[in-house]
Symmetry: C2
Subunit: 420 residues, 2 copies
Amino acid sequence: MPYSQRGDQNYLKLYNRRKVLGIFRAQGGMSRVELSRQTGLDKKSITNITKELLDKQQIRFERLEKQKAGRPKEILALNGGHARCIGLDFGGSHITGVILDFAGKVLCSDSVEVNLREPLDPDLFFSICSLMIDNLLLRASLTMADISGIGIAIPGHSVNNGQAVLVENIPCLKNVDIRRYFRKKYQKPVLVGDCSQLMALAELHLGAGRSAESFLVFDLGLGIGCGIVINQALYTGIGGKAGEVGHTIVQKDGPPCSCGRRGCIESLASGWALHATASEYVRLHPEDVLAKTAAPGEGVTIKHLVQAAAQGSEYSARLLKNAGEFIGIGISNAISLLNPPLVVLGGRMLMDNPIVLDAISDTIRRVTIDVIYQDTVISVSSIGANASAIGAALQNMDRIYQMEEEDPSHEKHPQRALAL
Amino acid sequence: MPYSQRGDQNYLKLYNRRKVLGIFRAQGGMSRVELSRQTGLDKKSITNITKELLDKQQIRFERLEKQKAGRPKEILALNGGHARCIGLDFGGSHITGVILDFAGKVLCSDSVEVNLREPLDPDLFFSICSLMIDNLLLRASLTMADISGIGIAIPGHSVNNGQAVLVENIPCLKNVDIRRYFRKKYQKPVLVGDCSQLMALAELHLGAGRSAESFLVFDLGLGIGCGIVINQALYTGIGGKAGEVGHTIVQKDGPPCSCGRRGCIESLASGWALHATASEYVRLHPEDVLAKTAAPGEGVTIKHLVQAAAQGSEYSARLLKNAGEFIGIGISNAISLLNPPLVVLGGRMLMDNPIVLDAISDTIRRVTIDVIYQDTVISVSSIGANASAIGAALQNMDRIYQMEEEDPSHEKHPQRALAL
């Protein structure tokens, strides 16, 4: 809510410290003179603020920069070593992990393929996660003592920031309190979030969203989701469930969806819908190029569809194009509603998949009213497959940036304050 | 953008003054003690702030309230007479006007039916507006010298806050610079905005939205639009065009729309789509109850459909229900995307129209995923047919609340600063 804080000297101090940290975060290292120019604060205020941030080891001396005349300028920057967070991303087909530092640098990453759409013992699932965390720490030459928090991205939502709901693509996690497990095992603050929202957080701090006031990120994979950033802050909705674009309806009384409804975009164009449709087709048409692309007994995936389309399977090309068109309509609908300056397309479905990407772009242009379309830049994510894992780590890092002892508002966010 | 202002003593002063005005605006009159409690500021700060607001005549002594012991408490409140704004709303079938005071009180209102969907000489149109303004001033015993600004709501968007675009339902205003006309004639600041966005502004300050952090307002009439409030502020998108829910697509390759695309909600369920469909039906079925409801030669309107349905026309009932279902899908899609705590339904289509309202409510419940649906309260606007006109006046009032000489940010919003 606007004007929700007590407008006293503490508030002003916090406002300026956060502003300075935000500038370092968005733009990297700079001198005190440049900080003064960008904040509009006088030299003395900047000297005080930077001294405090240096004392807290949130920033550090980066280097000296020679001047044409006079003393060299001290360039200050975020101190990566101030905090490090682990981010894990549970997709339907993989688990991905990263370790991120306070300056936003990815220290290491890892990924394993696991078919989480099939029933799986949660204990086995958590063992895989533990192995990944051990591996990440080893690669970064760190121990758990160096870690400030663990973030988890799930393809669904969490109740009370822990218990997984709406995770149709990972049935073994349904109603499991993921946070409790990691919190108990590692004794660290743990935050669980929606993978598409966290992908948007990664774009906000490290991707195309750094310079956009507001933007939408579309996460296209086994499921279809959306992350929303408004006024440079993640917008999650009243129950944390914003961005369920996959379950918006683009065809009244269309095919049945995993959510029990009909005609959702996911039922028409998601990874799981394409797998099901294509697998059935292959069963009926064993002579098609597509049938020869997938190994016998193996389900047909998007990768197979892309390969088969490249080898001349008209069916595969048509299926991919059709999916792109429905996704394009869903994205266009979101653009018509929110008139954003930027839309970022991400997710595994787009990797090496020009047919879907072209169909999405063409459809957005075709079905969006011109005067609205012209306001929006459409771009493809430059962060890649680790985006949600990075976002999961960033969510914890944001907590560290935000939760300072002087913050009078954090008592109002018990979820955050009680994250450990 | 967050942290965009210079965090100095001026900023703090402005922050607290706006906070106090916001509390008066949302909650009405109160004592300094209560203000101190709500803002967290000490008695001296509150005394200073209220003195300044009293000096500026933005607030006034409202009454003395007796205490059990000690001196009676002074109750302060917004001073309605500090400013008065005119708001006009141009619908496809009517022109509505109000005069609103600084305290949010509607001093008077007026409405005339005009079919603006037919070609009309812009000069004639503006003459009707002038007559309405004269009439409003007369009723409120005011002259133009008492008016601080004029706000205009149009069913479309405006370029540079003045020139009308996307006004399919008022062809005579297409590309007309409405602001220039009123500014020249009345020599007052003029702001032109989208009627659905302005309806949301009315709900934010005077309706159901007062207590909601974020909400959506659906404006159902000849066209279909949406106003979006996020964090207690109107969200208008990068080009001011947010809320075009009427042109979101719920049926791929559906019927043609006024925007030139296919399958938009407006093409399936708006007032104009129903008029066209029902008029054609009446031509082919002169024996239907519906044909006897509308006068010969007169087009069929929603009012006729509602009357005919009540008199047993199954066709009319089915057409209305069908429209409600498509609108319900569109609203459900917006709920899935934004997970808002509140949705307000408004607009002329809902007046005495239980078939459409029931179909909308039933459809939203049926097609929205339960865990998302449960977060949202669906309510019908209590403000009624003047909502967009009130919002248009409020937009000017917001300018007066926001644009103070100490505001360091107003230079960044040239549109606002140059409104006159």
